[in-house]
Symmetry: C2
Subunit: 360 residues, 2 copies
């Protein structure tokens, strides 16, 4: 039964809710920049690839934003999709729109609902549950959007937390500079998760329906050790180890703390899609990144705040709330020092357009 | 446009969220008793009235609980509906189920989502928004359930808060013992609201679809002044006036505070349904009430807690949080003193089964 799949998935890692200074709502300008850059690609995808049969068949056109967090980005993304779909109808009667906002059950849906645009032209619904399980009935969704979400794994690979395993990731919180076994464990977890993701979406999306994924990752052929976002996580790990060395946090707790994020390459995703077999790959594109014109201390502060909004929940759960300020102060400092070395790191955001095939 | 209707409705009066001692989650045993008593009626309604054509047409069977609050009652209600619908399918293939939990945008959906039963056999969604506006697309819902919700008006009738109106409800927070004009204003607000409710549901529910309403009200022909729940509200008003007389709260604030609840009779609802014209009335039944065997102080405490869970949000907004304990302590006391007089009050819970007509 479909919902059992959902329940087996671990329900964790929501972005920080509410609208405080470290909330996702106030620290998602980077994701917004990426989303804005992807807007044109989304519009063009809808113009070029949304078949007229799909448009004319439903009474209600159903859109999902998977891993929507709490806004405001999701509202702007949805507005863009809706306008692009509407303009495809041209002289035909425009249907009603239903928009499903999906994220983990522990996401701050209360905040999301209170922020819903008053002038929205759609019925808004919250769809709680991990996207590594089924969230919707068969053949019920026409358009899936997911930005900055599928890099999160369903869980940390078990073996890297196991002292007796050769994949034990002692003293590190991510895999970029870890033993080969750790990297393999992360890769395997990604391979499994992405298959679940595609399998579930293949059942939910109608034939001809579209799925847009916007993913932070690494260029093809780039080793994990040279992946920019991994370097940034690595540095957060060293801050935690510094605190462990000073006795502020337990070293053992650092040893069994890992960030369940995997930076895939476009090629890895393409291989996964082909293996699943239900989608055609319509477009893969690297999203151009705007360079920040802030000065170094400001850049460091922005990056640290962004990382805090994304990881605060996980860190709090493991180490307690009281370490957060000290940790992120020292992190800001370290980012500033190491910023020049980040130049060698390679990171991309890429856009993928998939279409649900008619058969299988 | 449908969603504009929704936005024009005032989004207020959620039950108290979370799971503290005065939360709805812990103070809804009375509603649960009513729901349990209605269970058999719901099951029978589905057995007798859910046509096989309705059952076989959808790929997904869609159920809504309108005014669901935060659980646990809503989960038990939904389970009962789902089992009854499933058993109607007999040898036919059972479809997938989608269950929409609807309540005001300010309802504690976070708590609701975290409490979702792990063994549920449906896709669960949150549908935020007032049910006095559109919440769902046209012809998308097969079964609507709403228990202990439509007695809440969309807002307090404006004129009763207006010093210069003959309907000004000075010194009272409800209408049962008020001037005729106040009663008329409440009646008019109810008449308008219930038409909106039926109009919106008529568009959302498929032809042949069912709607079950469980409503606290008054027997036919009973004047408002003899309606038990009104007497109970009246008493809460006297506690607030006592506090105003002692200078603890402002008398002016009491003058412009009213509870937007209307206790309709089955006959009033029937007239409204006939006026709307889109539904047939399949059944109207008074739900037998279990008598509590608690002693008087315990009964008084239970009733006061129940009233606190339902009204705390409204009272806090008007008078501040700090008055709550004192107010409800004196209320508990007064309920205990006046309990014998409640015997003369008339109150019922009634069950209504409506079916969406095939035409119009």
């Amino acid at each position: 039964m479909a919902t059992e799949e959902t329940n087996q998935c671990r329900e964790k890692y929501p972005m920080k809710g509410g609208d405080g200074s470290y909330s996702y709502a106030k620290n998602s300008t980077y994701q917004k920049g990426v989303s804005d850059a992807a807007k044109g690609l989304v519009t063009k995808a809808i113009e070029d690839k949304l078949d007229i049969e799909i448009l004319l068949s439903p009474k209600t056109f159903c859109i999902v934003d998977m891993g929507c967090s709490v806004g405001p980005n999701t509202f702007s993304v949805v507005k863009n999709i809706l306008e692009a779909v509407e303009s495809r109808y041209r002289t035909h009667q425009i249907p009603e729109f239903q928009v499903f906002f999906n994220d983990h059950t522990s996401n701050d849906f209360n905040h999301l609902f209170k922020s819903l645009p008053l002038d929205r032209k759609y019925y808004a619904l919250g769809a709680p549950g991990s996207f590594y399980g089924r969230v919707f009935p068969n053949n019920s969704i026409h358009f899936v959007h997911s930005s900055y979400a599928v890099q999160w794994l369903s869980s940390v690979p078990k073996e890297i937390l196991n002292k007796n395993s050769s994949a034990w990731n002692k003293g590190r919180i991510h895999y970029s500079n870890s033993a080969e076994e750790v990297v393999r464990a992360y890769e395997a977890q990604f391979a499994e998760d992405i298959q679940w993701f595609l399998h579930c979406r293949a059942q939910e999306i109608v034939c001809g329906g579209l799925m847009v994924l916007i993913i932070p990752g690494r260029p093809n052929e780039t080793p994990h050790s040279q992946t920019l976002p991994s370097l940034i996580f690595e540095l957060l790990g060293t801050c935690l180890m510094d605190m462990a060395n000073k006795g502020i946090v337990s070293g053992e707790k650092v040893d069994c703390f890992n960030i369940p994020i995997y930076y895939m390459s476009p090629q890895e995703l393409e291989i996964a899609v082909e293996r699943n077999g239900c989608f055609s790959i319509e477009r893969v594109e690297i999203i151009p990144q705007e360079q920040s014109h802030a000065n170094l201390p400001e850049k460091a502060r922005q990056l640290a705040s962004h990382m805090r909004a994304a990881t605060e929940g996980l860190i709090k759960e493991q180490f307690g709330e009281e370490i957060l300020d000290e940790l992120f102060d020292s992190y800001t400092q370290k980012i500033q020092e190491k910023f020049p070395t980040f130049q060698s790191g390679k990171g991309i955001n890429f856009f993928v357009l998939l279409q649900r095939k008619a058969t299988k």
